[in-house]
Structure formats: structure tokens, C-alpha cells
């Protein structure tokens, strides 16, 4: 059994920030991450971030990951990192977290405080042959292409014109992969128009009110059909078109990875604006279980900047519970809170704000 003061589950932007904050306060931190390398989705992001300069706007995601990792390195006396390790269970009777390294090495972890920063997983879409190799999640395409430098195929159909669909389309073009088209079932583009304009300028059409109908192929994708939807979301058969593509990239939303929170018995609520079932918490990210915190996409699908701020809050408060502090940490906490509020102030965050109203409580 490993013992620690603060266990952080997940080494993406939220988890890294939480570990840094808790260790800066003086707490002993164990950071468990399922990836081979830390950084979560950040290490795949070649685009520059938006927001305010204080939150690294104008910096590419991959650089932000580097900055966080160098902070982790500076705090290595306090932070132990265990990679390639998936937290597999939370046991309510004794508060033990189990984890699996690789495929068959197990460990038990007991920690005074646990910060769950597990992120999200990609949603699937239902259509014939959606299980054929060549139908990939957008995150998987990013991993293959931006982490390992391997292109997913020669010609791609992108499904979904939210920010991820638009950004990954552009990343595919950066890697010289042809994007046949982007389809979006909604009658409008969900992502920022600056991303949409970038790929349109390069000649890739974005069809709104269109979806994928089916995929064709024997052992892998050989073609895909798209179709226009009417105002009741029904396919209009006469508009069916076949595209010669070898890859279909799905970017149809994310679901929070909340299994550990369910297992821990934290109070949950279904809030569609935040991506599904999410956990109730106070403004400092504490759940209904006093010893468990959340941060990042697992707390509601948002983006990396808010994840980092939430992670910092959770890390500060978890360490403070254990009696740790540094000079001016309370000012830092309030400052982080106001940065988060500022970030969510714009019209594009309306959905997030309405979702948060349903889950942010006072304990």
C-alpha cells in the first residue's frame, strides 16, 4: 500500500496544475496518469490558446504542457509521478484507490485527499459500420499525428464542427493530409469562427445540417456517405453523397470520465450543458465527500485554461486542509477564482455558466 497526502488522478492540464499547487503549499503528492507521458491532451495541441495573457493566451498547448512539466520537475521532492497507470477503483469502506500499471501490475493507494482530474472520453456516433478500423476519435487522430508523427490516412471526413473538429481538421492539413469535408449535424458551426475560417480559406467545405450516413469497407474504411438533414433531423435521401475517404474522424463531443466519483459515492447530477453526469462541488472544487476534489473536464466539459485554474484551486484547498500554506496563498486562491470567473464571462461561455449554476453548491 502506498501512502500519500494528496493523490492526483490524471496528468492533464487540471491534474498537473493541482499537483503543482498542492506541492507548492508543501503537501506530499502522488500523481497517477494513464498516459505513457504526462500532459494529457495538451501535448497534442499545436494551436495557440485564447483567453487572457495571464493564462498563457497566444501560447501553443504543447508549450503550456512543457511549462507545467518543468514546474513538476522543480517540485520533484514533493511530487512523485507514476505514468502508464490507470486508477481502476475507489473503495468507499477504506478510501483506498486501486491502480494498474501497464496491463498487470496493481497497486493500492491511500491518501488524505484525492483530486480527480480524469478528463473525458470521446463520444461515439451510431451509423452502419462505425466499428470499422479507420473510424477514429478526434483525440486519437491527434495522438497518432501530433505525438507520434504518423498520419491516420490519406483523406479524411471530419464529423463535427465544434472547436475540436475544426482544430483537428487544421492539424490534419498541417500534416499534409487532405480533409475532404467537415459535416456538422447542427444548422450552425459550433466552434469559434476564427478556426472555421482558417480551414475554409484552405478550401475545405463545412456542411452544416449534414451528417455521416454510413461507412463502407471490408477490413477498413474505404468510403463514407454523407447526407443533409431536414429541420426535424431526418436524412434527406436524395442528398446522399459518397466520399472517397480512408479515415472518418469523429468529433461529436466528450463525456466526463466520472467512474471514480460514482464509486466514491459523490453526489452527482445530470447537466447536459456540462457533458452529462457531473459532480456537485463548491466553488473551490470540493465534492460532497470532504476528502475528494475534482478539476478539469471530469467536472464538466470546458477547455484547458479553465481546467488549469480549477486544478490550482483544488490543489491549494486540498493541501490547506492538511495544514499546509505559503505566504499569500489565500490571495492566490481568490485571484485564481476571479480569473476563472473572468474567463467564463463572455457570450460563448453562456452554456457553461448555466450548467455551473446547477452544480456549484455550498457545503
Amino acid at each position: 500500500m502506498r501512502k500519500t497526502e494528496v493523490l492526483v488522478v490524471g496528468g492533464g492540464p487540471a491534474g498537473l496544475s493541482a499537483a503543482i499547487a498542492a506541492a507548492s503549499m508543501g503537501a506530499k503528492v502522488l500523481l497517477v496518469d494513464d498516459g505513457l507521458k504526462l500532459g494529457g491532451q495538451l501535448v497534442k495541441q499545436t494551436h495557440k490558446f485564447f483567453g487572457s495573457h495571464r493564462q498563457s493566451a497566444g501560447v501553443r498547448g504543447i508549450k503550456i504542457a512543457g511549462m507545467l512539466l518543468s514546474d513538476i520537475e522543480k517540485l520533484k521532492d514533493k511530487i512523485e509521478v507514476v505514468s502508464n497507470t490507470t486508477a481502476t477503483g475507489y473503495y468507499q469502506d477504506d478510501g483506498v484507490v486501486t491502480a494498474m500499471t501497464g496491463e498487470d501490475v496493481y497497486m493500492k493507494i491511500k491518501s488524505e485527499r484525492v483530486i480527480i482530474a480524469t478528463g473525458a472520453s470521446e463520444r461515439m456516433l451510431t451509423f452502419p459500420n462505425n466499428d470499422l478500423p479507420g473510424v477514429y476519435g478526434a483525440g486519437a487522430v491527434q495522438t497518432l499525428m501530433n505525438v507520434y508523427g504518423i498520419v491516420p490516412g490519406d483523406r479524411v471526413l471530419m464529423v463535427g464542427a465544434g472547436n475540436i473538429g475544426l482544430i483537428v481538421s487544421y492539424q490534419l492539413m498541417q500534416a499534409n493530409v487532405e480533409v475532404a469535408t467537415v459535416v456538422e449535424a447542427m444548422p450552425y458551426i459550433g466552434g469559434y469562427l476564427v478556426h472555421a475560417s482558417k480551414i475554409r480559406r484552405l478550401g475545405v467545405p463545412i456542411y452544416t445540417s449534414h451528417t455521416i450516413l454510413e461507412v463502407y469497407g471490408k477490413d477498413a474504411v474505404e468510403a463514407a456517405a454523407i447526407v443533409k438533414l431536414d429541420s426535424k433531423w431526418q436524412p434527406i435521401p436524395s442528398t446522399k453523397r459518397i466520399l472517397n475517404v480512408d479515415t472518418v474522424c469523429l468529433s461529436v463531443g466528450l463525456s466526463p470520465l466520472i467512474e471514480l466519483l460514482w464509486q466514491a459515492g459523490c453526489k452527482m447530477k445530470y447537466v447536459p450543458q456540462l457533458g452529462g453526469n457531473v459532480v456537485l462541488r463548491d466553488k473551490y472544487m470540493r465534492t460532497s465527500r470532504r476528502d475528494i476534489f475534482v478539476a478539469g473536464d471530469v467536472a464538466g466539459i470546458e477547455e484547458a485554461t479553465s481546467a488549469m485554474l480549477e486544478g490550482k484551486l483544488a490543489g491549494l484547498i486540498a493541501a490547506s486542509d492538511l495544514g499546509y500554506a505559503y505566504d499569500g496563498w489565500e490571495a492566490d486562491r481568490e485571484d485564481t477564482l476571479s480569473s476563472l470567473e473572468e474567463l467564463r464571462r463572455g457570450p460563448l461561455s453562456e452554456k457553461i455558466r448555466s450548467g455551473l449554476k446547477e452544480v456549484v453548491v455550498e457545503w
Binding site: G35, I62, D131, G134, G139, N146, G149, P152, A220
Partner: protein, 106 residues
């Protein structure tokens, strides 16, 4: 076109040592530090297993060890998530047919 990127406007790829491994008995090359799935994909292999009930082809999907789509038999062990398992010299990687068998240890 090779599926490995040599030039990228923003990223540089630092690959590990080149290693040989075997896919269904055939010798392939990959790089240390990448996953088995990445090395297979780069070699043009997209089908990793067949599904348990309908025998349908399955491959890569989530790349983060969550979806179970990429289970293969690696060095005799079934149900290995090749998207999160690092490639090593001499690995024997096989297409998994159906559920795969448990290895009994004495």
C-alpha cells in the same frame, strides 16, 4: 506516401531507437518509445483484432486505453491495449481472434 511525418510546420518528432518486432509472424520496424498501435499504423496495419461475436474487424479508436477496440495478443498475452503499450525490440504481436485465451500459470 509514407504515413510517418518527417516535416511538420510546428512539431519536431524525436523518435527512439529503431527496433524490429513481429506482426503475425512478419517482421516490421518501429521506434522505441512509441506505442505498438502507432508502429502498426505506420506500417499500414489497421486491423488489430476480430470482435468476439460477429467476427468484425476492429482497430484503433480512442488511443488512450479506454475503449477496448485495440486488444491484441502480445508475446502470448491476450487483451493487451496496444494503444498504450510501448513497443519493444522483438515483441511478437498477433491479431486477436475473438476473446483470446487466459494463460494459466502453474
Amino acid at each position: 506516401m509514407s504515413s510517418r511525418l518527417e516535416h511538420h510546420p510546428i512539431l519536431t518528432f524525436q523518435r527512439g531507437r529503431k527496433v524490429k518486432f513481429y506482426f503475425d509472424g512478419k517482421e516490421l520496424e518501429g521506434y522505441e518509445g512509441e506505442t505498438i498501435a502507432a508502429a502498426l499504423h505506420a506500417a499500414g496495419v489497421k486491423k488489430y483484432r476480430t470482435s468476439a461475436e460477429l467476427g468484425r474487424p476492429r482497430g484503433f479508436f480512442c488511443a488512450i486505453g479506454k475503449c477496448s477496440s485495440c486488444f491484441m495478443v502480445v508475446d502470448g498475452k491476450p487483451n493487451v491495449r496496444v494503444c498504450v503499450t510501448p513497443l519493444r525490440e522483438g515483441m511478437r504481436v498477433q491479431t486477436q481472434i475473438g476473446k483470446g485465451d487466459l494463460i494459466e500459470k502453474n
